[in-house]
């Protein structure tokens, strides 16, 4: 039977646009402007979903974006909240969390098993016995989870964006509307957001049978729409508030990070349910849900109702029902006396039976729906007197017993909240500068007061921002608490739910407290209260009340749980947004591509790992590249190295303090290895320092270290106040290393620089033109051959590369990649920071203490290193070789070094050396290994042990004659 009402003034549906849709194989019809839930209810469908744990029949609770027991799947879109999801034509819907559909859900058997599913069941299941863990895991995986993920879902683009405004007003109810107008009138640019499809908040549905609220809304709305300073965004949720007034706004398309100079939180309240037996049966709903159904969607929520209330709003809801042709069987008021409101008088005038000092003790089901309410008088302690119960037939129960402030944004903004007994809710005790709270979230309830409170905050926000605005008086909070202090009633058959998301009953909380979880944060985690999709919007306040009662304290003493962003679920696609993953390319990238490079990531750089050669494997290509360097000439792009310049009278002194080595005595035109430590004496970077002039140095850092090194140097120089200029030129310079016994040949063809050993010795640095390009040349020996590291301005890198490749053609020049370089340097026993060291390695352990001049007056890390020196190192980096006859699988980096069955170190580098014709590597080894002949085992992944022996480094060309070639 259709539950659609005749035309309702102000309804949100467009009756001229009909939408057909399917729900679990049945065809229905709704209107544009309907939500999924309103359309189904209008079509006579009363059971909309199943509960999470016991699979109990559920329906509408709030119609306010919190109905997590009425969630649907529409194709690839899952967990759509029916209470707010707009109906679209040709939707194909199914309830989530059912086995066989919402009407015949096979998992409803869990409702019968609730006695053996106690609070903390998950934790208990995984406590003991251990043998059952796989069973529990399989079962939980099968029965839990909401919706079915479609892995073929196409990628949905949801680009994030930033936005800016003077004043952000969150919530377009009466207080938010007035706040917006006041701030905008003062000259502020206002962005007004509301999660609903239309503005108006409670003015759109809490009418008390009167047309006045609708008229007020029309007035306010016309002012808002006409105001040039106000931008309205409906369907937009303010989901989180962060430092510096950044607020995450989530709409259907994207997330917007808005920076507001001031924020006015007019987010209102969440109406709270009462707790009684069967308070979850379809047909039992919040009073505001029924009002929303009537006035927004023209849906009759029931034929006859019992209204449970603890405030005047319940009477207003009763009047709304009457005004729309719904019979009100009784108003059950938890209060013992008349509240004195006009609404109560009007209900009495209408001849509605009013039972004061009574409660609803239980709802009786008729089929899947509520069929009656069992009403009891209250005892003096607030408990139900079940011996004097009365059963009233109805097909709907409204609950209007109080509210909890939607204060998550205030919490996140840094507001301090306190429990106000008079108002019966948490209210702001203090607010950070630029943040304002208005309306019901501020404890102000009367409609006129909320509007005045809004105007007051709008003016204050404008004034705070420097706009001309007069001060407005503070509006007093509600004198009569709109929230009942304890609308919670025990029942021998339980099923009196405190949390509808997680099916938590009153007894579950009592049991959890009895088990020792008697703090609100512990209770939350153990009982999982407030951890479901609605994030406790209808359960946290009642949980606080229950805990306070059990502990004999007050809600204020119990306090609230931490409110973290996002306080409402946000689609993963929105969080992912557009991916910003910066990468860096050297100026020679296109040249590498042309040469067949296979790229690898080095930090955020893309570097050639090796160059693919037709008919060769990766390993063969790498070894050929290495062989080219050992026998002829190779060229590698080393532009990823960090590059810095330091100039000024204190430049040498500064380097002496930054690095472990000595640089003041370095001659102009020479280079020196440089090692950098942190304050703990741990190696953090290395490179080569070149002296270009008395007060001018150029130096390199590791590929991934440049930004950190530059930042640290800048920081230290700020502290030290030395007269130097430090410039990070990592991106401004390209660099290649020309290496091999014939490296001089191609170079000689493109420069007039005297390359003779006398004029340009090993470790020298020169500035000259190479192929017409101004360049810095460093004679380096990282790969153990004659080498020239050539640094040029980035925009001339291609010209340099092309010239060297052309000149080197007759000499068999060959580009080589990172893998070949790693092999070549390993043959020389040169370490790579970060690979052969870790976050604790000192120079003493890495065997580079030769680069540390402890007799200097000062360098960073020196003091710590002196302390470390006095202790025996636990391990030292050593070279090792495997037996030449090793066959099959060989150890890899990070495999453990074993001696006498115990872990005694780990492998940091290992490779097959074509030059040495054996596997060789570097490893951390314990002093015992070093002291006892150097033999140890390496344990591989499968547990296989491979014998190894310490070997002296460099493995290749120990005297270094080749890199000094002709020096």
């Amino acid at each position: 039977m259709s539950a659609r009402l005749p035309l309702v003034a102000g309804e949100w549906i467009d009756r001229s646009k009909k939408f057909g849709f399917d729900f679990e194989s049945e065809r229905f019809q709704g209107f544009a402007g309907d939500t999924v839930s309103s359309a189904l209810l209008a079509a006579g469908v009363r059971v909309l979903g199943r509960s999470f744990k016991y699979h109990r029949a559920r329906s509408v609770l709030s119609m306010a974006n919190h109905d997590v027991n009425a969630m649907f799947q529409d194709g690839a879109r899952l967990n759509l909240r029916g209470d707010v999801e707009p109906l679209r034509d040709r939707m194909v819907l199914a309830a989530v969390n059912t086995f066989g559909g919402v009407r015949r859900d096979r998992a409803r058997i869990f409702d019968k098993l609730s006695a053996v599913l106690p609070v903390g069941f998950y934790y208990k299941a995984f406590h003991t016995p251990k043998a059952w863990f796989p069973f529990w895991e399989r079962m939980f995986r099968r029965v839990t989870g909401l919706g079915e993920l479609d892995f073929s879902t196409p990628h949905i683009r949801t680009p994030k964006r930033y936005d800016f405004c003077d004043v952000l007003v969150v919530g377009a109810g009466p207080s938010g509307l007035c706040a917006s107008l006041a701030a905008a009138d003062a000259g502020a640019k206002v962005v007004l957001v509301d999660e609903n499809a239309r503005i108006g908040g409670s003015l759109t549905y809490q009418r008390g049978g009167s047309d006045d609220p609708a008229a007020q809304l029309r007035n306010l709305a016309s002012g808002i729409s006409a105001h040039p300073n106000i931008s309205v965004r409906t369907g937009t949720l303010a989901a989180g508030c962060y430092a510096d007034n950044w607020v995450a706004l989530v709409d259907a398309e994207r997330m917007t990070k808005i920076r507001a100079r001031a924020i006015i939180v007019a987010s209102g309240v969440c109406e709270q349910p009462a707790v009684f037996h069967n308070n979850d049966v379809p047909g039992v709903m919040l009073a505001s849900a029924a009002q929303r159904l009537i006035y927004r969607y023209a849906v009759r929520p029931m034929q006859s109702a019992v209204v449970l209330t603890g405030n005047q709003d319940g009477y207003a809801a009763a009047l709304d029902l009457i005004a729309n042709g719904i019979r009100v069987e009784a108003v059950v008021d938890l209060r013992r006396t008349d509240g004195g409101s006009a609404e109560e008088a009007r209900v009495t005038e209408a001849g509605i039976r009013t039972l004061r000092g009574h409660c609803i003790y239980e709802a009786r089901a008729s089929g899947s729906m509520v069929g009656a309410a069992v009403i009891c008088p209250l005892l003096t302690g607030g408990e139900a007197d079940a011996s004097r119960s009365e059963t009233v037939r109805c097909d709907g129960v409204l609950m209007s017993v109080g509210y909890a402030p939607a204060a998550a944004l205030l919490h996140q903004a840094g507001a301090a909240m306190r429990f106000d007994v008079q108002v019966g809710q948490f209210v702001p005790a203090s607010l950070p500068g630029g943040v304002f709270a208005v309306g019901r979230v501020n404890g102000v309830y009367a409609l006129e007061d909320r509007q005045r409170d809004g105007s007051r905050a709008g003016l204050e926000a404008a004034k705070y921002l420097g706009f001309p605005a007069s001060a407005a008086p503070v509006v007093v909070r509600a004198a009569v608490a709109p929230s009942h202090p304890y609308p919670i009633f025990d029942h021998p058959q339980a099923k009196n739910f405190v949390d509808f998301d997680e099916d938590l009953q009153l007894k579950d909380l009592a049991n959890a407290v009895q088990e020792g979880f008697d703090n609100i944060e512990l209770l939350k985690r153990y009982a999982t209260i407030g951890m479901g999709p609605s994030q406790g919007k209808h359960s946290n306040m009642n949980a606080i009340r229950v805990l306070a009662k059990l502990l004999g304290t007050t809600p204020g003493e119990v306090g609230t749980t931490t409110s973290r962003p996002f306080f409402h679920p946000v689609p993963m696609s929105h969080l992912a947004g557009r991916g910003f993953a910066p990468y860096r390319l050297t100026p020679l990238h296109s040249r590498h591509e042309r040469a067949g490079a296979v790229f690898m990531q080095a930090g955020i750089w893309l570097r050639p790992e090796f160059y693919m050669t037709r008919g060769k494997t990766r390993l063969e290509a790498v070894r050929e590249e290495a062989a080219a360097v050992r026998t002829g000439v190779g060229i590698i792009d080393v532009g990823t190295l960090g590059k810095m310049e330091i100039s000024g009278p204190d430049a040498a002194t500064f380097l002496e303090r930054i690095y472990t080595g000595r640089f003041a005595n370095m001659k102009v035109g020479m280079t020196r290895y440089a090692l950098m430590l942190d304050d703990a004496g741990v190696i953090i970077d290395d490179g080569v320092v070149a002296r270009l002039g008395e007060q001018r140095f150029y130096f390199t850092t590791t590929t991934t270290g440049s930004a950190n090194v530059y930042r640290e140097m800048t920081r230290l120089n700020t502290m030290w106040g030395m007269e130097v200029g430090i410039v990070n030129v990592t991106g401004a310079y390209a660099a290649v290393n020309l290496a091999g016994p014939r490296a001089r040949d191609p170079l000689a063809g493109v420069t007039n620089l005297d390359l003779s050993a006398e004029a340009f010795p090993y470790l020298g640095v020169r500035e000259a033109e190479i192929a017409g390009v101004p360049a810095r040349l460093l004679r380096a020996g990282f790969v153990g051959e004659l080498g020239y590291e050539i640094h040029v301005p980035a925009d001339r890198a291609c010209a340099l590369w092309d010239a060297l490749m052309e000149a080197g053609g007759v000499h068999g020049i060959r580009p080589f990649g990172v893998e070949a370089q790693r092999l070549l340097r390993l043959e020389k026993g040169h370490i790579i920071i970060g690979q052969d060291t870790d976050g604790l390695t000192t120079p003493l352990e890495a065997a580079v203490d030769w680069a540390v001049k402890m007799d200097k007056p000062y360098f960073v890390g020196q003091r710590s290193l002196k302390i470390v020196q006095r202790k025996n190192p636990k391990a030292k980096l050593v070279g090792f070789t495997l037996d030449s006859a090793t066959e099959g699988k060989v150890p890899r980096e990070c495999h453990l070094v074993i001696r006498d069955g115990k872990i005694a170190g780990r492998v940091t580098s290992i490779a097959w050396s074509p030059a040495m014709e054996k596997y060789l590597g570097l490893a951390f080894a314990s002093p015992e290994i070093i002291a006892n002949g150097g033999g140890f085992f390496i344990r591989m992944d499968g547990g296989q042990m491979v014998p190894a022996r310490i070997a002296k480094t460099p493995f290749y060309d120990p005297a270094g004659d080749r890199q000094k070639l002709g020096a």
Partner: protein
């Protein structure tokens, strides 16, 4: 030897079927294949890396530049014009970035003068990639990549913004072009391909995209 300079965005532009021109020894797209009008009206992305640049820093940098007859911005995070449509930006109390227009020679003069070595003045090699964004929807692109409110910079603004754009450190100034709102962006050249790809990708969603350098810089319109 007249060595060819290569833009850090050369490879990206080369995929767009350009007709090449040359500015200051650097190959630039005089125009790209197809009609560039729509992109220019919406949001156009242009490679301007060819323009000559220089940098100085140090406690004596400001008086030294003034000694060369260069008018420097009085405050940090501000810029002024140089002869020939160039720009000098003050990045801090003692740090300056200079870029000539297609016809200016201030950056070159500064580099030459620095060669001698000046007390309290240190050279900064600038090889920044230069990108221009122009068009009516330029702000829509910016708000998707950066958390700075560029709408606060009007066409008369002389503010230099140093910020992160799509995860990359950038310098940004407002510089309109023929009554269309526009911005100039400079970044480390090794990040330029990534930033170009990101900006042109978003621009395409806004009916914009890359256009040839010659559309903004008449010198680049001259074909190779």
């Amino acid at each position: 030897m007249n060595v060819k300079r290569t833009s850090p965005l050369h490879d990206q532009v080369a995929t767009l079927n350009p007709r090449w021109g040359r500015v200051r020894g650097m190959r630039m797209a005089a125009a790209l294949a197809g009609d560039e009008t729509v992109a220019r009206e919406s949001v156009a992305v242009v490679d301007l890396s060819c323009l000559d640049k220089a940098g100085v820093k140090g406690p004596e940098a400001a008086p030294w530049l003034e000694g060369l007859g260069i008018v420097v911005p009085a405050q940090a995070n501000a810029w002024t014009g140089l002869p020939g449509s160039g720009v000098i930006a003050r990045l801090g109390r003692g740090e300056f970035f200079l870029e000539d227009g297609a016809a200016g020679d201030t950056a070159g003069r500064v580099r030459d003068a620095l060669g001698a070595g000046i007390a309290g003045v240190y050279p900064v090699t600038r090889q920044d990639a230069g990108i221009a964004l122009v068009g009516r929807r330029v702000n829509e692109l910016l708000v998707q990549t950066c958390n700075v409110n560029f709408q606060e910079l009007d066409s008369e603004s002389r503010t230099v913004v140093m910020t992160m754009m799509a995860g990359v450190a950038v310098l940004v100034i407002r510089q309109d072009h023929q009554n269309l709102p526009g911005f100039r962006i400079w970044c480390d050249p090794t990040y330029a391909p990534y930033l170009w790809e990101t900006l042109t990708g978003i621009a395409a969603e806004l009916d914009g995209g890359p256009i040839g350098t010659g559309r903004l810089l008449s010198q680049a319109a001259k074909l190779e």
